[in-house]
Symmetry: C2
Subunit: 440 residues, 2 copies
Amino acid sequence: MEIALLKENPDLPHVLILGGGFAGLYAAKRLSDAPVCVTVVDRRNHHLFQPMLYQVATAGLNPSDIASPIRSILRKAKNTEVLLAEVAAIDVTARQVRFTDGSNQSYDYLIVATGARHSYFGHDQWEGLAPGLKSLEDALDIRRRVLLAFERAERETDPVRRHAYLTFVVVGGGPTGVEMAGAVAEIRRYALRRDFRRIDPAEATVMLLEGGPRLLPSYPESLGVAAKQKLRRLGVEVRTETLVTDIRHGSVSAAGWTIPTQTVIWAAGNTGSPILKSLGTPLDRMGRAVVEPDCTIPGHPEVFVLGDAAAFDHQEGGGLPGICPVAIQMGQYAARTIEGDLAGRPRRAFSYWDKGQLAVIGRGQAVADIWKLHFGGFLAWLIWIFVHVFFLIGFRNRVLVLLQWAWSYVTYSRGARLITEEVQAPGASLRSVGISAPSP
Amino acid sequence: MEIALLKENPDLPHVLILGGGFAGLYAAKRLSDAPVCVTVVDRRNHHLFQPMLYQVATAGLNPSDIASPIRSILRKAKNTEVLLAEVAAIDVTARQVRFTDGSNQSYDYLIVATGARHSYFGHDQWEGLAPGLKSLEDALDIRRRVLLAFERAERETDPVRRHAYLTFVVVGGGPTGVEMAGAVAEIRRYALRRDFRRIDPAEATVMLLEGGPRLLPSYPESLGVAAKQKLRRLGVEVRTETLVTDIRHGSVSAAGWTIPTQTVIWAAGNTGSPILKSLGTPLDRMGRAVVEPDCTIPGHPEVFVLGDAAAFDHQEGGGLPGICPVAIQMGQYAARTIEGDLAGRPRRAFSYWDKGQLAVIGRGQAVADIWKLHFGGFLAWLIWIFVHVFFLIGFRNRVLVLLQWAWSYVTYSRGARLITEEVQAPGASLRSVGISAPSP
């Protein structure tokens, strides 16, 4: 792989950004006017607004409502190239990144913003049974599983099996788990209400299992309590201190219970992207690279690790949560720091400006922790909507998403209730097709 | 499989409808007030507005813009059940349909509206190389192939290979082929224009190959000529009398030419659904069941075959085209005929009321043949938009689709430019999951 812009400007420092999430994108945007060449590499062609991914998984939004091509977002950044490629290894000594197609790319600055993936805490066999929610593919997979469970229940005559089809278990009581449980509870009560003839979707069981003592552990305690109450009002069975010990085809075991279910959704754990291991730097318990106060790894001031990939422990009050504002601020910080280096300014430590956290529970219900104010209900929900729509990248998306939400709110319907099969792609899987470049 | 409604009303005649396309859906809607029990069976959960499928394939619309759950469409038809199942065989003598999960269903009236699938004229090995456009999965597959071709071209340094990535061949000059070629030509010229750094998408080659002497063979000749001119103005290389003789990985052979290309789209031939063979009735050259003037098969006045599955040759001017208005009118006719039977009225022959045909070529360009008037250009395009949006099922879809088109028209952008991978579903493919009902 050769970088065309770099060939034309061999004297400019080259900033290589791995990952087109919030951290990578905000770094690239900020660097678009700096005297550098920038390359953004991602193994997907789109930036994804992960906080609303559960809306795709629960048929409220379409994939393209929450995703935009990285190329289009960075279209005006004339010093920036976007490449669809997958990283195989990072060699910080040689200052080189190797890709899975065998090509190499050297850099002057490296920004590692490769995010997190699910962690099954050593039970990798659970992955196929209990999908997590990180990518559009994950979301469409969960959507299909949830909708198919209702379809199968409609055809099932055995009452025990029918109950298993109508039992949905969400594992993990963080924001994703709370949002998923709330959304599935709403679908069954409203969107599907009159669609079936033999089953009553409203009677489906939705369970939220959390191993710790309360929901939303990274939020103030009062909000965890409020979320639990609101979920219960939606008919979700919330069980805290209920650690999942086994997941098999057809059942979940937790705290002595065995729950017959056909649909398990995993929202319990994250781990840093595996590529971080090749940095040769200490990782924390969650597989994230431990970074210095300037978000670089020890001994390599030219290698930044940002967002969910970074373990940043230099702020009072402990580590930073894995949320968008952290990633955005880190991306902007890394770009400013590189600009400062080039201008000969000394580095300043990164400092996170905490504007708060929001989690949505359902129609008109959310909890908010904003500038030390803790509150729930309709106002929190309105703030959630506007903050999230505001951060959606692309004006078209914002307008359409607001319209769809308004429509769903009035009608209780969910328009994207489609069960699509996986595409039977000929030959190799597309991941490999997208990355290797076979001869024509 | 037991039909619950039927068990409650054992004396009512049972109408079994195979297929939730236009013919099946309009038959079911019309029968919703009749003294019958209706079961609609489809192997997908959604009705699909096929005339706009090319818009999904070319990133203009989202899947849920042109598809709605069959259950929701028929929600108010209280005498109607919807089942997600796949037909294995039809036994017209025993008046029974067998499903792939082994269950059987008897009927008093059978409506076979299973549509058509691609025909590769005996070259089934071409299917993996040149996907056709019938389902949402097909459309997403084509969208991914087209977008990936540009991504690969951006990374390719060898100019010969790069040209192959930037060559798109559409096979077949009917409405689907014309629409696909026009849409790909527009994407490359407008939507992708400023997204790449090393390639100029506008220089991509789009070819439309037609074996016969002209485009749009089922339309008046002047419109075929007009379509050819308009496509050429968009930069499409149109070649008529160019029969494809071979498709291989990396090239298409036609009329002595060998065209290096990585992306071939098949829009050349249709054949009736394979299930029609089990009817034991004569099929025409295109695999469609030859029907009587009342759309039933010979000797079985209780078995209707409708829409793309039927070869109806009783109208002056030859057979009927495979378009929505034919399917809709046949569906309504079959429902009326069943109602008439129950009321003791004699049957009348089906007669198609031809309101015309439309084909869209690009932004502001279409051709129309309406009530013997033949015209092209902006007016035809406006009529195309309003007719198609009007027939979109679901009010939400109509409003959103109009808004998205308005937005695309003003900005030349295409919002759904996402490359999603196939989902790595654990275990069996979802088609089998959706149909068989494994024990929990």
